[in-house]
């Protein structure tokens, strides 16, 4: 049931897709070996469908992309960072329910 609207970002296109985005962006930093990351994957998919056009919902695999997580000091996953106009607006660490992410997103939209 994974959503086609989730954007998979990498170290090389992070700047273009996230930092220079005209709308707010949520990036979910994840890895295959992380149980809680798998647990929230369906929530991320739901968000991508619901916020289509209002915010970009992205995922970044921290194994394949070491530079961006390092830049943002990420040492725990899942971590979700909400960006707006190239700035970090909010950061959520750990598997949380959809309501908590909705609240954070709606603060910046």
């Amino acid at each position: 049931m994974s959503s086609e609207k989730v954007i998979h970002v990498t170290d090389s296109d992070f700047d273009t897709i996230v930092m220079k985005s005209s709308i707010p962006v949520l990036v979910d930093f994840w890895a295959a070996w992380c149980g809680p990351c798998r647990a929230i994957a369906p929530v991320i998919d739901m968000l991508a469908d619901e916020y289509d056009g209002k915010a970009k919902i992205c995922k970044m695999n921290v194994d394949e992309n070491p530079s961006t997580p390092g830049k943002f000091g990420i040492r725990a996953i899942p971590t979700m960072i909400i960006f707006k106009d190239g700035k970090v607006m909010d950061q959520i660490t750990g598997a949380v329910g959809k309501a908590a992410i909705d609240t954070a997103l709606n603060r910046v939209i």
Partner: protein, 306 residues
């Protein structure tokens, strides 16, 4: 879902076992889950002590197998979080966080527990920046670094062993002079060259600006204070039950674990409890599963004799 007979709150191993047994008893069952199935199994990498898997099994694979098995005989599932629950004339009425409410004949509370915090300065501020409660999630960020594990039980020792895959050195900080973990794990940990135990010691604060840099330690026997440079600290000092949403009529112990009889019945008729949220001597997947099966059997018994 007006004819729901049983709502199971939480889909860790206790909730899933209850769902399996309830569906086979043809009880109209709803399995309610806050985020996604698995409970604390999601926080560990590998399971070596669940019977039937002699070579051990990846925790996530076990979650997937249990989820498929729990659903096999037909149950309803829903995402939601219970905020309150009250005994009424015809059963139990529950209010959910999204504003919905439901009425059911019986409820099995299988909400589990969460890792306890140390409750020391710096811990909250540095969570996700070096303070972790999940070695399998965060361990790989500490390749060739020095980390500390706090605790002395099975989880602490198991996770310390897991962290030796990545870290250069793992300090195991325990407030007593010997581990509480099961003998086999103690033998493994104490013979692992990367693990160095620090006995009789508690953490007084976690220090660092944007990332963990050190821990302030106190030796409880000598009274000596010291500073330990580490780039990560993993906390496994026991569990706090997820039971704060329950009414006062549901009797609990002083830590908030639910008291039940051997049928998993609580002090309130129609409310049962199973798994780690229950007051019990051993919190493991294997005991959670037993609790879940017993609770579902008790509900079946209750519905047919009422």
């Amino acid at each position: 879902m007006d004819n729901t007979q049983l709502v199971i709150v939480g889909s860790g191993p206790a909730g899933m076992a209850a769902a399996l047994y309830a569906s086979r008893a043809r009880i109209k069952t709803l399995l309610l889950e806050r985020i996604s199935p698995g409970g604390q199994m999601l926080l560990t990498h590998w399971v070596d002590n669940y019977l039937g898997f002699p070579d051990g099994i990846m925790a996530y694979e076990l979650v997937e197998k249990m989820t498929a098995h729990a659903k096999r005989f037909g149950i309803d599932e829903m995402n939601g979080e219970v905020v309150s629950l009250v005994r009424v004339k015809d059963g139990i009425r529950m209010e959910l966080a999204d504003g919905n409410s439901m009425l059911t004949r019986a409820v099995i509370i299988a909400t589990g527990a969460n890792p306890k915090r140390l409750n020391v300065p710096g811990e909250q501020e540095l969570t996700g920046k070096g303070v972790s409660y999940c070695a399998t999630c965060d361990g790989p960020f500490y390749r060739d670094q020095t980390v500390a594990v706090v605790g002395g039980g099975d989880t602490a020792v198991e996770e310390a062993m897991f962290l030796t895959k990545f870290a250069r050195k793992v300090y195991l900080i325990h407030r007593r002079d010997r581990l509480r973990a099961v003998a086999l794990l103690q033998e493994k940990a104490l013979s692992e060259p990367k693990i160095e135990p620090i006995w009789n010691t508690v953490v007084e604060s976690v220090n660092g600006v944007n990332a963990v840099e050190s821990l302030s330690l106190l030796n409880r026997v000598t009274g000596e204070r010291s500073e330990l440079p580490v780039s990560g600290v993993f906390v496994f000092v026991g569990l706090a039950p997820n039971t704060s949403f329950l009414p006062a009529e549901v009797k609990m112990d002083e830590q908030g674990f639910i008291l039940t009889d051997e049928w998993m019945k609580t002090s309130v008729s129609g409310i049962l409890a199973a798994g780690d949220c229950r007051a019990k001597p051993l919190r493991q997947i294997i005991t959670a599963v037993g609790d879940g099966a017993t609770a579902a059997f008790a509900v079946s018994h209750m519905l047919t004799t009422e």
